[in-house]
Each structure stands twice: as C-alpha cells, then as structure tokens.
Subunit: 148 residues, 4 copies
C-alpha cells in the first residue's frame, strides 16, 4: 500500500523548457551560477500551473506567502548562451507545513544533467507575516486533489 | 538673475563610487548594458541620501510612489569586472510633478566618460495608484529646502 | 519605388510572448523598470531567430560583436507577476554600420501598450575590439536576404 | 599543534557591509532569495581582496577559472530595502583542489543572523576548461602565505 502511494506521490513532476539568455551568461561564456536560482523558480511556477493551485498567486490569494528557507544547488556541467535546458521540478511529499521540491536541469541537446537542486519553503500569514506551524487549508486541499 | 539661479540649481549633484561585480559582466567581459539601469538607481538613491528627503523610502512614507516613465542611456566606453566607476547624478529642476535626473558614469581610473543617461519619474498615489498631476507637498518642501 | 521599398522594409517585425517572473516584480508589485531592458533583449534575440542570421551568436561567429550604444524606454503602464506580454521588435532600416530596433511591449490580456523603446548597436571587431566604420559583410548579406 | 593550526586557519574571515538595493527587493518587500547568491559573491570578492591573491581576477590571471560546484543557503530572517547587512565570509581549509567558504549574513542594525550558506568551487584550466585534480601552484602559494 505504502509503496504504491509513494510511487504515485513521486509522480508529481513538471518539465519546463527554458532558453539561456545573453544576460544570464558570465564572462566565462556560461550561465552564471546565480541564474539557476531563477531557473528553479521558473520550474516551481511551471509546476504550480501544471498541478493547478500552487502558483505564487494561488498562495497569495489564499492569504499566505511561501518564503524560501533552504536552497541547495549542485553544478555538474555548464550551459551557454542560446542553449535550451529542461527544468524538471519534482514535488517532495511531506506532512510538515512546508513545500519541498527537487530539481534537475538537463541540457536539451544531449539530455546531460547540468545541475541538481532542492528547495524548502514555509508558510507565513500574508498579513501578520507570522510563521504558520500547520499547513494552510488551501495547501491541504491541493494535496488532497493532486496527491490523494 | 535667471543665470544665477540656474547655476545654483545645477549644483544638486551627487557622486557615488561603485565597483563592478562579476555577475554584472557579460560574455564580452564588459558590464552588460542593462546593469547601467541599476547603476542609475544606485545614483538616485545616493542622491536622495545626500539631499535628504528624496530616497525611495521618503517618497513611500509620504504616501507616494515614483514610477519611471522615461529612461535613456548612451554607452560611450565599457567597464570590466572589478573596475571602479563614479555615478554622477544631477537633479534637473522642473516645475512639473516630476523627478528628473541626468547621469554621467565615469571610470574611476582615468575619469573617462563611460555612459550618460537621463530619467523621468512621476508621482502616483500609494493607495489608489492614480497619477498625481500636481507635485506632492513633500516634494515641494524638498525643493524649498534644497533648491533655493 | 522608394515608398514601396520602405513599406517592405518596415515589415521586419517579430513578436515574442513573455511571462513576467516573480523575481522581475518589485515591491510595488509591478515589473521593475530595469527588467524591460531584458525584455528588449529577448525581443532582439527572437527577431534574430525569425529573420535568421542576426542572433548574437551569428554576429559572434562572423567575427564581430554588437555592443549597445543607445537605449531608450518609455513606460506607459505596468505589468504584474504572472502576466503575459508581447514584445514587438521592429527593425529600423539604416545604411549606417548600425543595428537599430524599435520596441513595443503589449499586455497580452488587453493589448494595451505597456512600454515603447529603441536601441542602437554598433559593430566592433571581435579580436581587436575596434569600431567597424563600415557594415560587416555578413550584415550586408543579411540585409540583402531579408530587406530587399 | 593541530588544534592551534586549526584555530589559526579558522581566522580567515572577511566582513563586508552591503546596502539592499530597491531592485533586489521583491513584491513581499524583502530581498528576493536569489539575491543572496550575489551577496555571497560580494563576500568572496571582498575576501579575495582582504587576503590578497584569491580574487576572480587573480585566479584568471594565473590561468584558471573557479566555477561553482555546490551552493547552499539557509534563510533565517528577511532584509528590506535600504537596510545594511554584513556578509561574513569564512574560508574553510581543505587539502583538496577546491575553494570552500561558509557565509553568515547579519542585519547591521541588530546583528541578527539573516542567512547562512556555503559554497564549493573547483579549478579548471582557463584554456582547455578541463578540471584540475591538483591544486594550482598559485593556490598553494596563497595558502602558504595566508594559512601556513
């Protein structure tokens, strides 16, 4: 039972194709490492559209914000200007009042893993900015809808 | 009379030294042209500290915002990573409900003009976001204090 | 004859749809004015793909670089997070050794003009970094191919 | 002996004061999480000036580049526009052909820890772009000079 659920949970994956901008490339002619944080954000936003209800605006409209508390990135290869990459964003199921994602960025031309990463967001009240210790109702609803 | 006033008005100038960051340099190993917009903003903010009362936060605390409506930049030379530059921000007097600046960016090492530019901001009400056709009182006070 | 040519020349227009990123929005909840410079660059790059041979990499591979020498932007309305916009990039024919574009950014939802702008680039030798006073051959070829 | 050396090694710390820019603040009116990667880079560069010989340009002039392979950031509190922060960059001694740093960002006004982080860079040959398995001579010299 548990195994089956886990497998189904692991299936919450979105893939978004991005194209490297000139302004994202540094003097080594490769994407500056800080730009990958933007790619991860592109991935999260694409994920939130795919599995409707977890976009920034959904969170905000529900009366919450979801600030980042932890971010990690491992750089394996480089991307250069004009190259296409695929940002694969995978939802990590958790019972905590957190949103956790893993990321893998692939070069589109040869499918090589360019970078991996992970992020953890918490919920704060949009008005008081205080930390929410329990998952907001909209998040429980979203989980119910997509993870079951 | 007029000439004298003009000269005195022209004296509202701030100079801020900046150092080019690695992340601001593009694959041609020079500052990406879009970064100069940030340098201008650094210049405005430094100006607003120097001539106290025109920082973003002062405008905001007075109940207004000052969005950009026009921006121009002429690129003369390039800056490379690690170089120091001086952002010279000059207030352009106007009776309109606008904030206008001219900018000159000099390379610190040889005083060469690297870029020039100008910007125009208007005032909007912080709540309604509607355009203010007349100069807000805080801006009139600021002019009173610093221009004549 | 000339009129007809002009009309045909004016037809070099590309339209690219972009989506506003969270990281591009400032504390006023609208796109920070400096980000439009990136949108213009997105427009130029899309144009260079559409009218093949004028992408950054084409210029570079031909032994040249095309640094920006003049940039202007007029802000009419604002864009907020998640909104789609269309960057319309129009080639401005010139006999000078320059690449000139006009830009109009439209909000996708209501077709309102959000911003307009223009840019001028010159050619420098990729090795010596010296200014090219005459149009490089690849640029003449590109014009030949696409304009008349 | 070893303990003493470790203590001395741990003493390679640089502190750089930064001021939050308007363009770095997001729609939540706090610094966008991706900007901290820039602050870490500011910290590394300041460190490389303080302990002369480890700036990007020193590495480059020695015939190498030092791309990022691992980056982590933990966000504890937020910074808002205009606030000053101190980026504390601490060198992590290693016998590997790597440059490793820990970071702590403090709010200047109350000394609260705003964020912590770490980074690992490797060396590649500036020409061939191949990974250097052994520490370049300039790096051994730098260690000799500053860590001993």
């Amino acid at each position: 039972m548990k195994t089956k659920n886990k497998i189904r949970e692991a299936a919450l994956i979105d893939r978004k194709t991005i194209t490297v901008r000139f302004s994202e490339v540094d003097s080594m002619k490769v994407v500056w490492h800080g730009e990958y944080i933007r790619y991860f954000e592109d991935g999260r936003e694409s994920f939130g559209k795919h599995y409707d209800g977890l976009k920034y605006i959904d969170i905000y409209d529900s009366g919450y914000m979801a600030p980042m508390v932890e971010l990690n990135c491992q750089y394996k290869q480089s991307l250069t200007f004009g190259e296409e990459a695929i940002v694969e964003t995978r939802y990590i199921p958790t019972s905590a009042a957190k949103i956790m994602f893993d990321y893998t960025i692939y070069r589109a031309s040869d499918n090589a893993v360019v970078a991996t990463g992970s992020s953890t967001q918490v919920f704060i009240n949009g008005q008081t900015r205080e930390l929410e210790l329990n998952s907001p109702q909209f998040y429980l609803d979203w989980k119910q809808r997509w993870i079951k």
